[in-house]
Structures are given as structure tokens and as C-alpha cells.
């Protein structure tokens, strides 16, 4: 018997991995008990023994990388990101959630609150209201900064439920933008001294924000007018000022520009064997999201086909039971990501993504700069 090297596989074309390895490299196999081969093989020399380079080449990446927008509405979008590594896709997701800045209410000056909602709770609720404003127009406010028109947006809320009137619900549209900054005067010792000049307030705006060209036509408002802030009974009143500043989601979730952002890998449903007739019917019936269809193949024979693999939610109904595991295989394509961004309303989702890309770019630049 001639000595045969285990690496010598005549049926595998040169420069390619054997089929099962290729499958393991590119797909997550979702068996009924557990998913396997979920990790990406990163190491360029992982298949060096077989003479295959696993490295990622830039030109290759540029050629293969594609983004296809599936759905785009005002505040959410779904797009496919093809030919990218999960670590990169995840980086975008993480940046979207935690590192994209937005404006959110950070300081609340409560002049009067006789409602049942406690001051802290009211402030917390206000903080979570998304503001529809481009954060790129504002600067971060650091600890020693005085609030000015470049780093602070001021809102006012003054609602009163008159005695004898029914209860009212305070919604977010009651928050009024104050382009000139705070109206509450700062209590200082020498406040009487220069009574002629403008009283000192909690902000020091040098000019009105609505004089800025961007805000003249579209004043700053909240993303949703119908968020319930509080309920007031007769005789109750809320008077406050809310100061919004720029921040990032990793400090507090209120600065996160997305409700959530996530991806899933493209589902791949494979029929390992021909599934015909009753079995096919059964399979179609089994799937709650209608992944399968039936095709007539003549002779009164019917065959199951995979019609909508994208719809698969991995409920694993189709591979439930002994024999079905051998008939259907559920897989996930490792380099195809169905990415969904749900914006809170501050920025449109497509802008969010491009911003995320910019931030990642910045980070890379920084790493390169640090290294060199």
C-alpha cells in the first residue's frame, strides 16, 4: 500500500479547503442541541498546512465587501453587510450603542414640583427623552465649563393643573426650548449691585441659539411629542428648567442614539435530502415563519424547497425530532450580517451608521498614530 499523506486530497481542488472545513470556516452550524463552529478563524496561517492562506487581504475585502440597504425609514433601518468579520460588525454595533454622542437632559433645575412624581424620578424621566438635534453642532461640556450656547440646550417646563379641572397628563411637547438659555437667575450676593445689567442666570449664552442659521428654520424639539412625563392632579404644578448636554451612551443609556442596534447572521437553510410528499407538507407546516414552500415536480409528486431562508428565526422546529436533523440543516453565514439600527430620533439611522464608521476610523487612526 503506498503511503498517502493525509493532506493529499485528490478530490479537493488546489487552493481550496476541503468541503467540510470550508463549511466550518464560513458557516455556523445550528444543530438542535447547540450551535457549533461559531468562532471565526482569524489566524492567517490556520490552514497553512494545506497550503491555503487564511489571511485577509485588503483588495480582496474591498472587492467582496457590500452593503445592501433593505429597509430605511425615518427611525429604523435594516441593511445587509456582506463580507465582513463579526468583530468589525460588532464594533459598529458597540459604537452605535455606546460611543455615538447625542444630546440629553442632564441637569434639571426644579423651581416647583407639587406633583406626585418625585424630583429625582421626574429628572430621570426627562433625561431619557430623546432630543431631535444634531449633536455634531455642540461641544462636550467638561466639568469646569460654564454652560453656554455651544454646549447646552435649555428647555423649560411649566405646567399647572388648575383647581377644579380634571387631571392632566404632561407630555413631552410641553417642554419648550429656550434658545436664550436659562431664565432662572442665579442667586448671588451682589445680584442687587448691577440690577441694570442682565441678571446672571444658570447659563451664560453669548447669543441666542435660534440666531444660528441651522436652528432658525427648524427649532430644536424633542423626537416624540407624546412621551408621558407626569400626571398632574388639580392644584398641582411643575415648573422646571432642563439643561441638555452632549454625552455618550457608555456614561448613561440616555445618551445612546439608538433604542438598540444589532445584527444577525444570514440564515441558510439547507435540505440535505429530497423531502417529498407528506414529509414536505409536514415540513412546511412545521415552520412558523414559512421558510419552506412546496414545489410540484410532476407525477403528482411534491418536493419541499427553501423559499425564504431569511425569515428563519432559528426556532429549530424543522430539526426537532430524530430523523429531521438528518434532513434539514440550519446554518448561519458567518460573514453576512443583517444589521438593524433603531434610532431614538436624534439622528436618522443612516447618519448614525456613517458616524459610527467615522468613529471607528478615528480609533484606528489613533492606534496607528500610537504605534508609529
Amino acid at each position: 500500500m503506498p503511503e498517502v499523506s493525509p493532506m493529499d486530497m485528490p478530490d479537493v481542488p488546489m487552493g481550496k479547503l476541503p468541503e467540510h472545513l470550508e463549511l466550518q470556516r464560513t458557516r455556523v452550524l445550528c444543530a438542535s442541541d447547540a450551535p457549533t463552529h461559531t468562532e471565526n478563524i482569524q489566524y492567517s496561517g490556520a490552514y497553512a498546512m494545506m497550503g491555503i492562506d487564511n489571511g485577509l487581504r485588503l483588495d480582496q475585502f474591498c472587492k467582496n465587501f457590500r452593503v445592501e440597504v433593505i429597509r430605511l425609514t425615518e427611525d429604523d433601518m435594516e441593511f445587509d453587510m456582506i463580507g465582513i468579520d463579526p468583530s468589525l460588525a460588532n464594533a459598529f454595533r458597540r459604537i452605535l450603542i455606546a460611543e455615538l454622542p447625542t444630546m440629553a437632559i442632564e441637569k434639571v433645575l426644579i423651581a416647583n414640583n407639587t406633583s406626585v412624581v418625585q424630583d429625582e424620578v421626574l429628572a430621570h424621566r426627562l433625561g431619557l427623552i430623546p432630543i431631535k438635534v444634531d449633536p455634531r453642532l455642540f461641544a462636550y461640556m467638561s466639568e469646569n465649563d460654564t454652560p453656554n450656547e455651544k454646549n447646552t440646550i435649555v428647555f423649560k417646563l411649566h405646567v399647572r393643573c388648575e383647581r377644579g379641572s380634571p387631571r392632566i397628563t404632561v407630555k413631552s411637547d410641553e417642554l419648550k426650548w429656550l434658545p436664550n438659555g436659562s431664565e432662572f437667575s442665579l442667586a448671588t450676593e451682589n445680584s442687587t449691585a448691577n440690577s441694570t445689567s442682565k441678571p446672571k442666570t444658570y447659563t451664560s449664552f453669548s447669543c441666542s441659539q435660534d440666531s444660528l442659521p441651522i436652528f432658525t428654520d427648524n427649532p430644536i424639539q424633542l423626537a416624540h411629542p407624546d412621551i408621558i412625563i407626569a400626571k398632574l392632579g388639580p392644584g398641582q404644578e411643575i415648573e422646571l428648567e432642563a439643561h441638555a448636554v452632549k454625552g455618550m451612551g457608555k456614561t448613561h443609556a440616555k445618551w445612546s442614539p439608538v433604542a438598540t442596534a444589532w445584527y444577525r447572521m444570514l440564515p441558510e437553510v439547507v435540505l440535505l435530502k429530497e423531502i417529498e410528499d407528506e414529509k414536505a407538507e409536514e415540513l412546511v407546516k412545521k415552520c412558523p415563519v414559512n421558510v419552506f414552500d412546496i414545489e410540484d415536480i410532476g407525477d403528482d409528486k411534491k418536493k419541499a424547497i427553501v423559499a425564504r431562508p431569511r425569515a428563519c428565526t432559528l426556532c429549530r422546529e424543522c430539526i426537532r425530532g430524530k430523523e429531521w436533523g438528518d434532513l434539514v440543516a440550519l446554518r448561519r453565514v458567518k460573514n453576512h450580517f443583517i444589521f438593524t439600527i433603531e434610532s431614538t430620533g436624534a439622528l436618522p439611522p443612516e447618519v448614525l451608521f456613517t458616524e459610527a464608521v467615522k468613529i471607528l476610523e478615528d480609533k484606528c487612526q489613533r492606534v496607528i498614530a500610537e504605534l508609529s
Binding site: 468583530s87 460588532n90 457608555k250 444589532w262 433603531e342
Partner: protein, 1164 residues
């Protein structure tokens, strides 16, 4: 009206449809399959009876019933029994109470009655009480001229009123009216408000009174005992078999008395008659023989001899001397004390003899056959003493005390040689003794009633207001009769007779385990019922009177004894016939619904009970296994035409107590009934109490887990009541965003937990993450916390009083200075010197700028005359956790009982969860927050769902809380299809709990895996995880134990004055002790310097001067700069050394008691 009816109909019909389709939202074919597999589906859904029952009875109806009975009936009985005050000097002068009643709750303010509401009392530290009004008839006038006068509505005291009882202003009020009174409509009532605090009189468990109980004593002797309790006397009679002879043990006798002597003393001179009475069975005679012989050996043959013999055995105590000496004391004792519950009419001792004979017979039966022993732990042998009974005891005592007091004062007036003015009886009434006595006893909980030899502590407790469930659970708590320290397992074990009456889950852990119990959902506790009509009814139904029977006939085999409330009425030849006749009368409503008729075949007795304190529960009556409740009945109930009481009145439902349950064959479900079945359970989940009822799928859990949850549910934060923000509790924990559980149970809806929830539905992923989740710790999502998960509010009360002093000076609260020293700390003060609401308060801030006069005693001074220098500041500063900001929530001013101004501050602190805070699911699975992790690092599912918290799967295998898993599945299905799923205990067959199969089908329909496991991506690497993760919503409770209240560390700090060692405990900023065991470790390790440092340097080092000659301690003379020995009177041989101050103290203390410890020093 008809139109209105229709309108009401519709939603109910809808609901009904919802119920009928309820078990599974499954396709038609599947329903068929299920129907085949299930036992014949109960024809009638009887569930609606439970809410109806609770609507009629309320959750704490037992307390209310008991109190109402006392207020309406009991108090009248007590007053009627003691209605005369007669002067002992002139018996013609008397006062008679003709009537008594309780008025409306009110308080006298400056002589004007003002109506009280409970909330008013809570806020201003008052007692919610109503005047006790009596009508009196009395003699007035001088010696010669006496006239009878009448007075109505004389106040003799004030009775604390139980909330929601019939004399409470809240009685019968609807929700809007309750809200106007500042009351929470979901609050069950059943407690008192004493001096502003809510007090519950706990249900007391006791052995039943007036019943023969066969038991063994410590020495293993079998005895028959009766604890007799009548209005006049309470006694305990024990008949003991000792060394084959039978004795009587009674407190009034100095030693045990041969029982035959007692029988003879009661007139049973013939031994034969005694033998006949006990029973002619030769075995009984043989057992009785030694006693007869013993009696003969003492030479007791006649009644006179027996009485003389007993006379000698009497205790010397003169306690009984008060009784008339005309009669023989022994006769008096035998009449009034010996088996006091059997009345002696016209010196007829025969009933007593018969009773004693029955006792002897029962005891002998137990000797011959151990099975005849009574079980003290059997619930049927227990009585629950409720607040009404306890208050009535208290009132009786106080009322009698008042009567003796009044008669004393009257006598004192009458004894005066010259009475100038006409005296008025009525003026001696109405002292404070009753008011103060009731108030004091209820507020301290120490019942100390000498008259009834009742000395018990801790009978009342402050109502637990930690959470709504804690309040409810506290009201159903049954406190045990024995002290907790006894190491016996019997009373702690779960009794089968507790089924349906006492909750099998809800009991504390630790020393009170199994002793403290809780009532089940549908339990009712009876109140006393009039006896005489029942007795005459029994005779009408063919009971042969005892008087007409000879001793021989007593135990004839063809008839049964009829025993009514422990009293032998007579015999009946057809016991079953008699019992069924009685039951028919009961079902027809001719006799009280709580009368129990129990045929005991073994003892050949029929027991009829109408006494108070028995536990009972409603059951559906079935005839030959066919339920009496039909579809149309339930429909009528739903339509509102029929009420729960109608079911009772029509004989469809009846109450059975524990004893009568023994005569019934109760089917769990209608489908399981056979032809022998007599009753059918209404709903099986009602065997659980309020706390256990919150657990979803408790029947899938390991039983201790349910017990743990019962304890933990009471510590969960959430809502307390609708009026929670108007209350001034000392400590209040609230959740900012409480939710109702996604997976509910029927009990939750019945008790109102869905309206006052204490937890949040958290999306839980069961997986291992980060290693900070070992030992039940949970990993939390920071974004969830940012968005308000687990956020809570802690409110604490601070109070201050503007004290008035003896010399008519008083504290003053002054305007704060805005500049200068201390102005920093006074920023939150208003101009009136009191912190203003809404201000942020930091530690060391002054919240009231109060000053007290320096001189508070001595001659009267007017407050006006004091100058500023006569005051010293007594500001109160806020002590809270450093670095945290709290807020002054509310400030309330009221005047307290000494009419000082009292100022209460509520300080609010909002907290977000932090590492170390305790959380728990509803399955006894508690854990602390191990770490908080950013959302982007958290795993996420294919649908973008990111869990709120991660729980380690190791929590499951050993705990076996399958219910939690089903809760997760059910919650997930509920979220998917928008319907609250149910998980009532044992609810699957009746459709009150969703089946796992149905839940799984729902999950699959919405694209989830049937097993609830999702495909999850790691948030860190972005790759899918190599396992499917069990993920879904679980209701999580935040428990009151928070790190902020517990964390403590200290470097140097305060020391105890006496020993100069560091103080103990967090509250005193104490040190952390190196204890015995730690010390042992260090010794074993040889770390001597460390021990030295810990035990001396860092504790209480002290430099002492030791005299090398005499070995005693000297002192250091600072002038001479040397140490001097005070014994040797010189400083020649002084060494300086270090010693723990405690050691120096010990040496000196020993010296003070004439022990001289001498230190012998060697060169080191």
C-alpha cells in the same frame, strides 16, 4: 333596571368566553386531543366562587368577624354579667348598667367631640378609638331620700376600633369614599391604630377548651385532661393513670387524689355504679380495680368520708377563702373548679360524675389501645383566638376592675360620717382606667390579666408595612401556643389536617419553623354561637337526656353519646340519622352555618360544636358524587343575581371544620367524584395562603423553595398602598417603576398584587457570564439600570418635638442666620427654622434650628421673659450615608398627646441598584448583584433583545425550581402574544395555569424555540455563543437589603468609655473585631506581632506604672515627672509598661473586691 343589567352582562360574558377558551389557545384538532387525555372536564367552573367569597368575606374577615362579634354581642354579655355596682355599706344603693354600646370613633378636643378617621390618627399619633357608651340606672339622694335615676350614653372609656370593622368609619365605604378619607381601598383593615402606630393582634393558636384530650405526660403516664373555661372560672382538670391507679390532679389540691374518692365525694358511693358508668367491659373493671381497692384502703366508703379526706388534701392557700364558709370548701371546689365546664344545678353532681366517668373510660381505651390517643397537633383539637376574644378578655378585666374601683369610692363616700352633698354615682364612672388599660395593652402587646392568669407578651405587633404582601401576610399569621425554644418536631411538622385551613408553605425558617403558621386563602374562623337553642334542638331530634339514663346505659353498644361543645347532652340510638338531620337543618339555614356535626365512630360519639375559634372552609356539597352547583348557578353568580351567601342559603355550599371533614369524602375535582363523594373542593389553589399564592407554578417547585419565597415576598420593595405617599412611616421602601407580574396567578388578582406589585419583569438570560455570577450572584445590564430597572426610593422619618418644660418654658425654633458660622449647614432651612420640602439634604445638614431653654426646672417662668442667652442651641443634624444626597420629601406638623408641637420630616433617597444589592425571583432564588456590565458587552439575541440580567445556571439543578423555568417560558409566551399567562397552583386541570405544552406552542407560533432557548450572540466578540440560551422574562423582586445600609469600615474612631476599646456595630461606627477564632488562627500561625498589634496597639493601649517591689500599679506624677507606687509610697522601683486598658481595669476591679493581682516583671 333591566337595561342596566344588560350593560353589565356584556363584559362578563366576554370574560366567560375568555375563561372557556382559556386552557389553550390551540387549534381545534389539538383541543380534542387534550380533552380526551384530560379527566372529564369539570362540568362547572367554580372558580368564580373564590372572588365572590373574598368579596363577601375579605382577606382578614376572621379578625373583623371576631371584633364585630365582640363589639355587638360580647361586650353586651360582659356588661350584662356584671351589671350591678352595689355599695357594701348600704346595699340599697346601687348602679345598674342597662345597656352598652360603642359609639362612633371620635376624640375629645377641648370638650368637643371630633370625628376621627384612621388616617388622621396615623398622621397625628392618636388612637383610633370610639367611646363606650352605657345606659345606667342608679340611686341618688341623701340618706333618707333615694330616687332612682336614669342616664343614657355615659362614656365609661374609649375602645380602640379595628379598621373596617362595623364601627369603623370605613365600614361599607366604596373606593371613592375611602380615597376621600385618605385610605387605600386595597388595605384589608383588621388592625388597630394605637398612638399613631398600626398594631395587629396576632391570631393565637391554642388547644381547644372544654374538650377531653388524652395524652401522655413527661413521665409517660397516660392522662385525660380538660381545660375548662366558663365565664366564671377557668381551670384544668387532669385524670392520670399512675402505677395502675387513677388519680385526679387539680391545682387546688396539694397532691393527687384517688379518683374514686372524688367520685364518692360527689355522691357516687357505690363502686358498682362507677364501674357501670365506666363500662362493664371486664378489661375496664380490671383497670379500675386497683383504684377501688386503694380507696377502700384509705377507709373511704361514704360521701362524708370522702369529703373529709379531700378536705385534708386541700392546699392551704386562702385564695378560696373568700367563698362563703357555710358550704364545705371541697364541695365548692368540686362544683366550681373540677371540670368547671359541666354545670351543677341544684347540687346535682350527676352530670359531673358521668363526665368524669367518660374521661376515665376514654383514658382506659387509650391504655388498651394506643390509637385512641388524641393528637395535640391535630388542627381539630385547636382553637384560634382572635382579636375580638382577646380584646373581650381585656375589657372584661378592666370593666370588673372599674366596678370594684367605683364601689370602693362609693363606699368611701358613704363611710364618711357627714355627707354634705348628694352623691352621684354616675360621676364616679368614666375614669380613664378602661381607656388607658386598653391602649397600653394594645400598644405594648403585654397581656397581663391576673383574673384569668393570662400573662403573655408580644401579642400585638406593629403591622409590617414593608410591602403590601407583608401587610396581608401579617394579618393571617397564627402565632403558636408554646415557646419557640422547645426542640420537638411534632408541633412543627406539617399536619395532614392543615389541608385547606393553614398554608403548607408559609412558615418562617429557623426557630419558629412550623410553629408560626398562616391561614389559607379561604379559611374562616368561627365566632361563638348561642348554645341553648342548639341544645334544645338536639333534644328535639331524639337525644335521650343524660338525667334519664342509668350508668349502665351510658355505654350501651347500640347508641352514641352526643357531645355538644364538650358537654355530654345524652345519647342517641341513630347517630347517623341524627347527624344528617342536623346537617340538613344547617344547610337549610335553620341553625348557624358554622355549627359542625361530627360523628366519631371510634369513640362512639357525635360531636356538635358551635364554639368560636374553630377553623373551617367552604366546600361544595355533592350528592352521591354529583355537585349541587350547576352551570346555571354559576351563570347567575356571574350575572350578579346570586351571591356567595345565596349559595350558602340554598345549601349548595357549606362550611366544614376540621373535625367534620373526617365525615366527608372530598373530591378535588368534579370529575374525580365517585358515588361516595360528599363534597367537592371549590378550587385547589385555595389551600395556599396569600404569600404562597404569589408564586407561579408552585406545584412544580421543590417545597422549601416556596417556603423561602413566602419569607422573601415580604421583604420585596414595591408599592405599599395607594396612600403610600401620604403616610408617615418610619421607614418606607418603594420601587420607582413597579410592575405587575407577566405570569400571574389567580391569587395575585384576588388579593390585588397586580395593582400593588413589588417587582419588575426582567428579561433574564440563564447563562454563565464574567465569573461575577458565582454563588447566585446576578450580572446586571447597566443600560437597564439607567432606564430605571430596580430603582427604589427609601423614605425615612425624622422627628423633632417642640418640648414644653415644667417651668412653663419651651423650646423655640428660630430663623436661621444666613451668613457666618454654621450658615453652610443651615442652607436648607426655611425662614421658620424648619427644613423646607424639596431641598437636598446632605449629611451634617441642620434640619431644624431649635433652641432649648437652659433652665427647665424650678419656679415658673414665662417663655416671653427669656432672653436669647437663656437658650442653648439644640439643633438636629441629619446623619446619612456620606456622599449621598437625600431630599426632604415632606414636613408635617402636628400636636402630640402632651400637646407639644411635633414636627415630622420624611427624608427621601432614590437609589439605583449597585453591586451587592439583593434581588430575588418568586421562587426562593435570591442573589446579590455581582457586577454591572455595559449593554454593549451584554449578549443579544437574533431579535436584538438584550437581557436585563444574567443568572447563573448552577442555581437550578440543586434547587429544582422548575416553576421558575415555566415562569420564564410563560412570560416569554405572554410577551409574544400579548396575554397575561397564568400559573396558579395546581391550576392545569382547571385551566388556571397554562400548560407547558400550550406555552411551547405559543412560543413556536411566534418563532421561538419550543424550549425557550434562543440563539445568542456575544456582545464582546460578536460571534454567536456555542449554546442556545434560555432567555425570557421573570418577575424579579428587589429586596430591602441594600449595600448602602450595610457597608461599614473604619480606621480610628469612637471608643467605649469604660474599656477604651473601639465601639461595636455599624450604627456606632464600630470597629471590626478580631474574634476568638481569628485570634486562634493567628496564634496557630505564630503571627505574634500581628496579634499584638490587633489586640493591643489598635485597640486600647495604656501605659501603666508598675512597682517591681509590690507588683501593684502606681501612677505617674506629672510634677515630679516620675512614676510613684502608691502602696510603697515611693518611686524607686517603678517600671513603665504597656497594657491593654481593659487589663488595667480588670486589675483595679479585682482590687476593689479584695483580690490583689500582682504583676511580676522580668527583664525582657
Amino acid at each position: 333596571m333591566g337595561f342596566k343589567q344588560e350593560n353589565v352582562d356584556e363584559p362578563i360574558k366576554e370574560r366567560q368566553e375568555e375563561f372557556s377558551t382559556h386552557p389553550s389557545p390551540v387549534k381545534k384538532s389539538d383541543i380534542d386531543k387534550q380533552n380526551l387525555a384530560a379527566p372529564v372536564k369539570s362540568a362547572v367552573d367554580k372558580f368564580q366562587l373564590v372572588p365572590e367569597f373574598l368579596k363577601v368575606r375579605g382577606l382578614v374577615k376572621q379578625h373583623l368577624d371576631s371584633f364585630n362579634y365582640f363589639v355587638n354581642t360580647g361586650i353586651k354579655k360582659i356588661v350584662r354579667a356584671n351589671d350591678r355596682i352595689v355599695s357594701s355599706i348600704d346595699p340599697s344603693i346601687y348602679l345598674r348598667f342597662t345597656d352598652v354600646r360603642i359609639g362612633q370613633p371620635s376624640v375629645m378636643v377641648d370638650g368637643i367631640g371630633e370625628e376621627l378617621t384612621p388616617h388622621m390618627c396615623r398622621l397625628s399619633d392618636m388612637t383610633y378609638a370610639a367611646p363606650i357608651l352605657v345606659n345606667i340606672e342608679y340611686i341618688t339622694g341623701s340618706n333618707v331620700q333615694k330616687t332612682i335615676e336614669q342616664k343614657n350614653d355615659v362614656v365609661i372609656g374609649r375602645m380602640p376600633i379595628m379598621l373596617r370593622s362595623c364601627h369603623c368609619v370605613l365600614h361599607g365605604k366604596d373606593e371613592a369614599e375611602l380615597a376621600r378619607l385618605g385610605e387605600c381601598p386595597l388595605d384589608p383593615g383588621g388592625y388597630f391604630v394605637i398612638k399613631g402606630t398600626e398594631k395587629v393582634l396576632l391570631i393565637q393558636e391554642q388547644l381547644s377548651k372544654n374538650r377531653i384530650i388524652i395524652d401522655t405526660d413527661k413521665k409517660g403516664r397516660i392522662n385525660a385532661s380538660v381545660v375548662s373555661s366558663t365565664e366564671a372560672w377557668k381551670s384544668k382538670t387532669v385524670i392520670i393513670m399512675d402505677k395502675e391507679k387513677i388519680y385526679l390532679h387539680l391545682n387546688q389540691f396539694s397532691s393527687m387524689i384517688p379518683v374514686m374518692a372524688v367520685m364518692k365525694a360527689m355522691g357516687m358511693e357505690s363502686d358498682q355504679e362507677v364501674v357501670q358508668m365506666v363500662g362493664r367491659d371486664p378489661r375496664f373493671s380490671a383497670l379500675l380495680l386497683p383504684s377501688i381497692e386503694e380507696c377502700a384502703s384509705y377507709g373511704i366508703y361514704t360521701q362524708q368520708q370522702a369529703l373529709e379526706y379531700l378536705e385534708r388534701k386541700l392546699k392551704k392557700s386562702t385564695y378560696f377563702g373568700a367563698f362563703s364558709e357555710k358550704e364545705n370548701r371541697v364541695t365548692t371546689i368540686l362544683r366550681d373548679v373540677f371540670i368547671a365546664n359541666v354545670p351543677v344545678r341544684q347540687h346535682n353532681f350527676r352530670p359531673k360524675c358521668l363526665y368524669a366517668a367518660v374521661m376515665i373510660r376514654r383514658m382506659m381505651e387509650a391504655i388498651l389501645n394506643k390509637d385512641a390517643m388524641d393528637d395535640k397537633d391535630y388542627v381539630g383539637n385547636k382553637r384560634l383566638e382572635l382579636s375580638g376574644q382577646l380584646v373581650s378578655l381585656l375589657f372584661e378585666d378592666l370593666f370588673k376592675t372599674m366596678i370594684t374601683e367605683v364601689s370602693k369610692t362609693i363606699d368611701a363616700i358613704l363611710a364618711k360620717p357627714s355627707r354634705s352633698s348628694r352623691f352621684d354615682f354616675s360621676q364616679s364612672l368614666g375614669r380613664d382606667s378602661i381607656t388607658v388599660g386598653l391602649e397600653r395593652t394594645l400598644s405594648t402587646g403585654n397581656f397581663d390579666i391576673k383574673r384569668f392568669r393570662l400573662h403573655r407578651k408580644g401579642m400585638t405587633q406593629v403591622l409590617a408595612r414593608l410591602s403590601f404582601i407583608a401587610t396581608l401576610g401579617h394579618m393571617t399569621k397564627v402565632s403558636p401556643q408554646f415557646e419557640k425554644s422547645r426542640k420537638v418536631s411534632g408541633p412543627r411538622a406539617l399536619q395532614p389536617s392543615q389541608w385547606g385551613m393553614l398554608c403548607p408553605c408559609d412558615t418562617p425558617e429557623g426557630e419558629a419553623c412550623g410553629l408560626v403558621k398562616n391561614l389559607a386563602l379561604m379559611t374562616h374562623v368561627t365566632t361563638d354561637e348561642e348554645e341553648s337553642p342548639l341544645i334544645s334542638l338536639c333534644y328535639c331530634l331524639g337525644v335521650e337526656d343524660l338525667e334519664l339514663l342509668s350508668g349502665e346505659e351510658l355505654h350501651t353498644p347500640n347508641s352514641f353519646l352526643i357531645i355538644f361543645n364538650g358537654l355530654i347532652l345524652g345519647k342517641h340510638r341513630k347517630p347517623q340519622h341524627f347527624a344528617s338531620a342536623m346537617r340538613k337543618l344547617r344547610r337549610a339555614g335553620k341553625i348557624g352555618e358554622f355549627v359542625s356535626i361530627f360523628v366519631n365512630e371510634k369513640q362512639r360519639c357525635v360531636y356538635i360544636a358551635s364554639d368560636g375559634g374553630r377553623v373551617c372552609r367552604p366546600l361544595v356539597i355533592a350528592d352521591k358524587g354529583i355537585s349541587r352547583i350547576k352551570e346555571h348557578h354559576m351563570k347567575e353568580l356571574l350575572d350578579g343575581v346570586r351571591t356567595f351567601d345565596d349559595f350558602l342559603r340554598d345549601g349548595l355550599i357549606e362550611y366544614l371544620d376540621v373535625n367534620e371533614e373526617n365525615n366527608a369524602l372530598i373530591a378535588l375535582y368534579e370529575g374525580e367524584a365517585t358515588s361516595e363523594t360528599t363534597h367537592i373542593e371549590i378550587e385547589p389553589f385555595t389551600i395556599l395562603g396569600v404569600c404562597a399564592g404569589l408564586i407561579p407554578f408552585p406545584h412544580h417547585n421543590q417545597s422549601p423553595r416556596n417556603t423561602y419565597q413566602c419569607a422573601m415576598g415580604k421583604q420585596a420593595m414595591g408599592n405599599i398602598a395607594y396612600n403610600q405617599l401620604c403616610r408617615m412611616d418610619t421607614l418606607l421602601y418603594l420601587l420607582v417603576y413597579p410592575q405587575r407580574p407577566l405570569l400571574t396567578t389567580k391569587t395575585i388578582e384576588l388579593v390585588g398584587y397586580d395593582k400593588l406589585g413589588a417587582g419588575q419583569n426582567a428579561t433574564v438570560a440563564v447563562m454563565s457570564y464574567s465569573g461575577y455570577d458565582i454563588e447566585d450572584a446576578i450580572v446586571m445590564n447597566k443600560s437597564s439600570l439607567d432606564r430605571g430597572f430596580g430603582r427604589c426610593i427609601v423614605m425615612k422619618k425624622l422627628s423633632a418635638t417642640n418640648q414644653k418644660y415644667d417651668n412653663s418654658t419651651q423650646d423655640r425654633i428660630i430663623r436661621p442666620q444666613r451668613v457666618g458660622y454654621d450658615s453652610e449647614r443651615m442652607q436648607i432651612l426655611d425662614d421658620d427654622g424648619i427644613a423646607s420640602p424639596g431641598e437636598i439634604i446632605r449629611p451634617n445638614d441642620i434640619y431644624i434650628n431649635k433652641e432649648s431653654p437652659i433652665i427647665t426646672k424650678g419656679p415658673l417662668k414665662s417663655s416671653m421673659g427669656l432672653s436669647d442667652s437663656d437658650y442653648k442651641p439644640s439643633r438636629q443634624t441629619f446623619k446619612g450615608p456620606e456622599g449621598e444626597t437625600s431630599v426632604v420629601d415632606r414636613v408635617a406638623l402636628c400636636s402630640d398627646r402632651n400637646s407639644n408641637m411635633s414636627i415630622k420630616f420624611i427624608i427621601r433617597h432614590t437609589r439605583r441598584p449597585e453591586v451587592g444589592d439583593k434581588f430575588s425571583s418568586r421562587h426562593g432564588q435570591k442573589g446579590v448583584c455581582g457586577t454591572i456590565i455595559q449593554q454593549e458587552d451584554f449578549p443579544f439575541s437574533e431579535r436584538g433583545i438584550c437581557p436585563d440580567l444574567i443568572m447563573n445556571p448552577h442555581g437550578f439543578p440543586s434547587r429544582m425550581t422548575v416553576g421558575k423555568m415555566i415562569e420564564l417560558l410563560g412570560g416569554k409566551a405572554g410577551v409574544s402574544n400579548g396575554r397575561f399567562h397564568y400559573g396558579s397552583a395546581f391550576g392545569e386541570p382547571s385551566g388556571h395555569a397554562d400548560r407547558v405544552e400550550a406555552i411551547s406552542e405559543t412560543l413556536v407560533k411566534h418563532g421561538f424555540s419550543y424550549n425557550g432557548k434562543d440563539f445568542i450572540y456575544s456582545g464582546i466578540t460578536g460571534c454567536p455563543l456555542q449554546a442556545y440560551i434560555f432567555m425570557g422574562p421573570i418577575y424579579y423582586q428587589k429586596l430591602k437589603h441594600m449595600v448602602l445600609d450595610k457597608m461599614h469600615a473604619r480606621g480610628s474612631g469612637p471608643r467605649v468609655m469604660l474599656t477604651r476599646q473601639p465601639t461595636e456595630g455599624r450604627a456606632r461606627n464600630g470597629g471590626l473585631r478580631v474574634g476568638e477564632m481569628e485570634r486562634d488562627c493567628l496564634i496557630a500561625y505564630g503571627a505574634s506581632m500581628l496579634i499584638f498589634e490587633r489586640l493591643m496597639i489598635s485597640s486600647d493601649p495604656f501605659e501603666v506604672q508598675v512597682c517591681r517591689v509590690c507588683g501593684l500599679l502606681g501612677y505617674y506624677n506629672h510634677k515630679l515627672k516620675t512614676g510613684i507606687c502608691s502602696t510603697c509610697k515611693n518611686g524607686d522601683n517603678i517600671s513603665t509598661m504597656k497594657l491593654p486598658y481593659a487589663c488595667k481595669l480588670l486589675i483595679q476591679e479585682l482590687q476593689s473586691m479584695n483580690i490583689v493581682p500582682r504583676l511580676k516583671l522580668t527583664e525582657a
